[in-house]
């Protein structure tokens, strides 16, 4: 095995073992694991776009978290709208529609951002970064304008979300398992897309050398728009499927942006495998830290919310290229 995979697996095992020793029984260990995987999958949905877009286009999209937030709001609104409720009384079917709407909105907003705001700025990369930061501000403010500043929590019950089963004396939510399953499926699906399809080959080649890809007769900018659109749609999808648990609030944008940035730094900028591994690691680390910091002997719940930043600082100090990065 290559050393970076060895190190990643060792870290993963260390986090899980630490979590095991923190848990009083198997049931609560299971809960911690599931919570970690759940968070990890949501992180992956934001971080994968962030990483691939950065690798291909050299744009770090500081608005990636805002797309997650918009996804959550759209999904919430469609599911709770009285009109849609009247049209589709079945909450499970309505949830599918909510998710699809969120993905569509994310894709459209993402495509527009790349095509009309970023494209004029490829000659001025420093302004691209500043611009995505500005777009994040505008999206957050626009969300507060449309939906007010009060956070929403999901109130409509539906069986998909609320079913659970008993194991080791704890009750596990089916929905979280479904999200974890979807997350793993997407990791594999996007991986296959990158490995096997022509567009995937072009994306991987573009991460190495955009100029050469273009000199082969490929319109790289069209690929940029496509990748950006998909990346934002996936982040929006993440927000949509997270909303039944996390609700919808403006704070999601910053929270997920920072965690996703930590994932990308941990995994290595532009590395797909690194992003997948980084998401799992950070997700599990977050869940374990939430347990650890909440222990009465420690009593510092603030530690958990600082985990992504501390991890990122640590990685930059020890190995700036990240687990799967090529040095610098």
């Amino acid at each position: 095995m290559r050393p970076n995979i060895l190190v990643s697996v060792a870290l993963l095992v260390a986090v899980v073992v630490f979590g095991y020793f923190l848990s009083p029984d198997l049931g609560s260990f299971g809960i911690t694991l599931m919570s970690g995987l759940f968070q990890g999958m949501l992180l992956f949905l934001v971080a994968s776009g962030l990483s691939i877009i950065f690798g291909l286009m050299d744009v770090l999209n500081f608005a990636q978290g805002a797309y997650f937030m918009v996804g959550a709001y759209v999904s919430y609104s469609v599911h709770h709208s009285p009109d849609v409720m009247a049209a589709i009384p079945d909450p499970n079917i309505r949830f599918f529609l909510s998710v699809i709407s969120a993905v569509a909105v994310g894709a459209v907003l993402g495509g527009l951002l790349e095509r009309f705001l970023l494209r004029p700025l490829y000659a001025r990369p420093i302004f691209q970064i500043v611009l995505t930061f500005g777009v994040a501000i505008v999206m957050t403010e626009a969300v507060e304008f449309i939906w007010s500043t009060t956070p929403y929590s999901w109130t409509v019950l539906f069986s998909l979300r609320d079913q659970s089963f008993q194991l080791f004396g704890q009750s596990f939510g089916v929905y979280r398992l479904v999200v974890i399953g979807i997350g793993f499926a997407l990791i594999i699906l996007i991986g296959l897309l990158l490995q096997r399809t022509r567009i995937g080959i072009i994306i991987r080649a573009g991460v190495e050398d955009r100029e050469m890809v273009e000199a082969l007769g490929i319109n790289v900018r069209m690929v940029f728009t496509l990748v950006f659109t998909i990346g934002c749609a996936v982040a929006s999808f993440g927000g949509a499927i997270a909303a039944p648990f996390l609700g919808a609030s403006a704070g999601l944008a910053n929270l997920f942006l920072l965690s996703a940035i930590a994932v990308v730094v941990l995994g290595g900028m532009g590395s797909y495998a690194g992003t997948a591994m980084g998401s799992l690691l950070l997700g599990l680390a977050l869940a374990v830290m939430q347990v650890f910091a909440g222990k009465p002997q420690i009593g510092l719940p603030v530690l958990a919310s600082m985990t992504p930043m501390m991890l990122m600082i640590l990685v930059l100090l020890v190995r700036p290229g990240g687990l799967f990065g090529k040095g610098r």
């Binding site: 080959i201 072009i202 991987r204 000199a215 082969l216 319109n219």
Partner: protein, 237 residues
């Protein structure tokens, strides 16, 4: 030379990179079916000339025509699609892609690679057993072969090859020269080459670029005899 016979005409191009005036009037005229070479000292502007033709560093003034069509203002993917293959210096292959993927990505129409596979593996037999390896695992000579092979996948009528011999062993250079000579039977080639021995054996036409300007151009056979000219612009005997 009548203009109608030229596949590539570059007329008085000026190119800036940032605020630096790199090309200050370069002319190149290349007849169809020939092998042309750009000669000149390091930093004279040979590579920039190729990049300007490809549309990577667009010219600020002057004119570039390929088969009579103006290339000015076209982005490089458009230039490539007209039938120009580019083999940049330092063997810019995709190191993370396998040899097969490196060749596949160059397809302009699906099936290009399948049609050209025999020709490519005939020219570069080494590549055939390496198709599943990542490009980064190849030796320098193999990478150079892959870079040229990649430009052969679509039906290109002009190949721009930048410093193919750079840093390679003499045996490999022989092999490359053989390949370039063979492929020039079907396409026109414009080389940039520091290795004067290689250039003089391969090329029919030469253009010397000196400090961003094309200084002298003509028939390679005449240049070989003109030691004074070689000494003056190239500093080699």
């Amino acid at each position: 030379m009548a203009a109608s016979e030229a596949i590539l005409e570059v007329r008085d191009i000026h190119t800036f990179i940032g605020q630096f005036h790199i090309l200050e009037g370069v002319n190149v005229n290349l007849p169809r079916g020939s092998i042309g070479v750009l000669l000149g000292r390091n930093g004279a502007g040979k590579t920039t000339t190729l990049r300007t033709i490809m549309g990577i560093t667009p010219p600020r003034s002057g004119e570039i025509r390929f088969e009579g069509q103006r290339l000015n203002g076209m982005r490089s993917f458009g230039v490539a699609r007209l039938g120009i293959g580019y083999v940049p210096e330092h063997r810019a292959i995709f190191k993370g892609l396998t040899v097969r993927e490196n060749l596949h990505i160059a397809e302009r129409r699906s099936g290009d690679f399948a049609r050209k596979a025999d020709l490519i593996f005939d020219l570069f037999p080494d590549l055939k057993r390496l198709v599943h390896l990542p490009g980064g695992n190849l030796s320098g000579g193999q990478q150079q072969m892959l870079a040229i092979a990649r430009a052969l996948v679509p039906d290109n009528r002009l190949l721009l090859i930048d410093e193919p011999s750079e840093g390679l062993a003499p045996v490999i250079i022989e092999q490359l020269m053989h390949a370039i000579r063979r492929l020039s039977e079907q396409t026109t080639v414009l080389l940039v080459e520091q290795n004067f021995r290689m250039a003089s054996q391969l090329a029919d036409r030469y253009t010397i670029i000196d400090e961003g300007r094309s200084a002298v151009a003509g028939d390679m056979r005449d240049l070989v005899k003109d030691q004074a000219l070689i000494q003056r612009y190239l500093g080699v005997a």
